[in-house]
Amino acid sequence: MADAITVSSHTGGAGGHLSYLKDGKGWKSWAFTVDHKRIGVMYLWSILAAFFLGGVFAMLVRLELLTPKQTIMSAEYYNRAFTLHGAIMTFLFIIPSIPAALGNFVLPLMLGAKDVAFPRLNLLSYWIYVLGALFAVAAMVTGGVDTGWTFYTPYSTTTASAVTTMTLAAFILGFSSIFTGVNFIATVHTLRAPGLTWYKMPLFVWGMYATAVIQILATPVLGITLLLVIFERVFSVGIFDARLGGDPVLFQHFFWFYSHPAVYIMILPGMAIISEIIPVFSKKTIFGYKAIAWSSVAIAFISFLVWGHHMFVSGQSRLAGAIFSFLTFLVAIPSAIKVFNWLTTMYKGSIELRAPMLYAVMFLMLFGIGGLTGLFLGTLATDVHLHDTYFVVAHFHYVMMGSTTIAFLGGLHYWWPKIFGRMYNEKLAAWGAALTFIGFNATFLPQFLLGSRGMPRRYYNYLDQFQPLHAFSTFGSWILGLGLTVAAISLLAALRKKPDAPPNPWGGKTLEWQTSSPPITHNFETQPVVTHGPYDFRVGSAR
């Protein structure tokens, strides 16, 4: 038996079963579905819409910053635009992007399961997401929010803008995130196919598991914090208000206790995708499987101990600052372990630079920059200089956009044929990737320079000497927008074609490639049995 995985049939509809896309017609068959694949697809379109909206705000912000003083909008609108950009991208796009959209679709397939453990909870999670999104839209049309996505007190408890509605939206979205996390952990524990031991699971699953742990442990704290902000606004309870004997810095502690781990809710799934793409397009067993798997868990663990590095200049004690700084450096270790293992996987592999792999290679470079500049900010002395400057903006965009979103796009291209059963135009996809890469760097590299020269973040106006770099960044954002548009055209154009994707276009070894593209409603014709590891390219190369 040469094949890694024993499945009786992998051609679509061979047993008379319909693909999940055709099994059921009409809006009700989607709105009330409990199929993890359909829920994943609904999530996908929703988060892409959020990405578009957040992107529009980003382009407006960049356009405004083309010149000092007013370019296209007033300072008041500018404050709202960057707040909405941040809040939408964080809560409506990045956090649910990989787990809820791609993860929902792929995770049960990778486990050889028919569905997630709690399908109805999964559907509930989606509709709660929609409800949260509606609240966010309501906040936009009823005056907007101008606090920045961090909702720092005391400004957030005193401003007249629609903070209550927006924080309520984030509170609601938190439940959607928690439900996804609960579902994934229960699914991984109980629904693995026969033979699929923990160390035979694809690394994507390990990444999703680590992410789910953070979603469960961190999100409730954000929930109660946002409730406290709402109570503070409605009742003046006093906990965050220094005039009433409270402590505004306590809000920062609470907020970052969630929001720093949330950063890893965003990056771990990105890393999880890269761990899939690199071995498949290098046709080589992943190097250091256990090191990558456990480094995800290590990152999840350390993520809870570093929140204070956001508050080096907020008046916490020097000792606390030093401890948080030290713990922050620890995160670099598991992150570096991953990067070295990916590079070593590529070494002497037969590398195929198809679109997903292009994104993976881009990820390695951009994450390298994003990760290492994080160390500048984790160092107490340099952070005092760089805190709240464009250096921070550039750093987290290299991680959030340059790493997570790029990995998401890589994953989207990687699984697009599986999800919709259609191959996209490879050339167009490669152009999209290249333009995105160039545009991204053109936008954000100058911001490191701006920040180190003292340009503060979130400012509407700036000194004339910063204009060339700001203008460069704005021009870069146009290339970035063009690149993303080209990528979108390549993917969307594929949907107009007839289904043409083979079950396993990339020669992957994980279980999702052992069923038809798109999969049937029950995922597999017969229960798959796993006998080999997920990246075992030595055997069964026929597929």
């Binding site: 453990a117 469960i216 442990l217 914090t225 406290l228 003046s236 309870v237 402590d247 306590l250």
Partner: protein
């Protein structure tokens, strides 16, 4: 009890994506435990906030807590402890397949929860009457120590959130009661009773912490 018996007897409650009942039971329990973890963290934020503010405004908190009626606090604690016991007995009865006792103990749990909320209503209306309200609505006259409003901010947030959890638990238990009367539960299938029991104990446990924190700090 043997697995095959489990499978044979109640395959009508086995969802399509599980191959056997044991797997489904495991998943449900993991799910509920994870949910309970999120609950602890949700309340954890309030507990941390309370601890910090109490340390900062020690005298005001001590003075404010004298407005609470200890007797009623004790009564509610006893009522909830009894309800925990009746819930345990309900779970036990469902595992034995004793439908009559299951219905009885679920009903008793519901009654205890009702008494708890009744007492809470009485306490709340008393506080409302005296102007012992959160934040800017605090209007109690003649305080010797200023700043007592913050204690009542926490009092209402914490007991309010806990009360909502009691209400949610009552809805769940009422639903169990309907299903028990319908005869859904047996020795072979009783997971919903089991995991609702877990939830109910957590709600009780939170009160066990709330009671000394709010009523007995003096």
């Amino acid at each position: 009890m043997s697995q095959t018996a489990v499978q044979e007897q109640d395959s009508r409650f086995l969802q399509h994506h599980f191959t056997e009942m044991e797997q489904q039971v495991d998943a449900s329990k993991i799910g509920m435990w994870l949910f309970l973890v999120t609950e602890i963290l949700l309340f954890g934020g309030l507990f941390v906030g309370f601890a910090l503010m109490q340390a900062r405004h020690h005298e005001a908190f001590i003075a404010a807590h004298h407005h609470l009626d200890r007797g009623l606090g004790v009564l509610n604690t006893v009522v909830l402890l009894i309800s925990s016991w009746t819930m345990v007995m309900a779970v036990h009865s469902s595992q034995k397949g004793d439908r009559r006792k299951l219905i009885l103990f679920l009903a008793l749990t519901l009654v205890c929860a009702g008494i708890f909320l009744g007492v809470k209503y009485f306490e709340y209306s008393h506080k409302f009457h005296e102007g012992l309200l959160p934040g800017k609505y605090y209007s109690h006259k003649g305080d010797a120590v200023p700043g007592q409003f913050m204690f009542f901010s926490f009092y209402f947030m914490m007991t309010g959130l806990h009360g909502l959890h009691i209400v949610a638990g009552m809805i769940a238990i009422a639903w169990l009661l309907v299903r028990a009367v319908r005869g859904d539960f047996s020795a072979a299938y009783n997971t919903p009773v089991d995991i609702t029991g877990l939830y109910w104990h957590l709600v009780d446990l939170i009160w066990i912490y709330l009671f000394p924190l709010l009523y007995l700090i003096g």
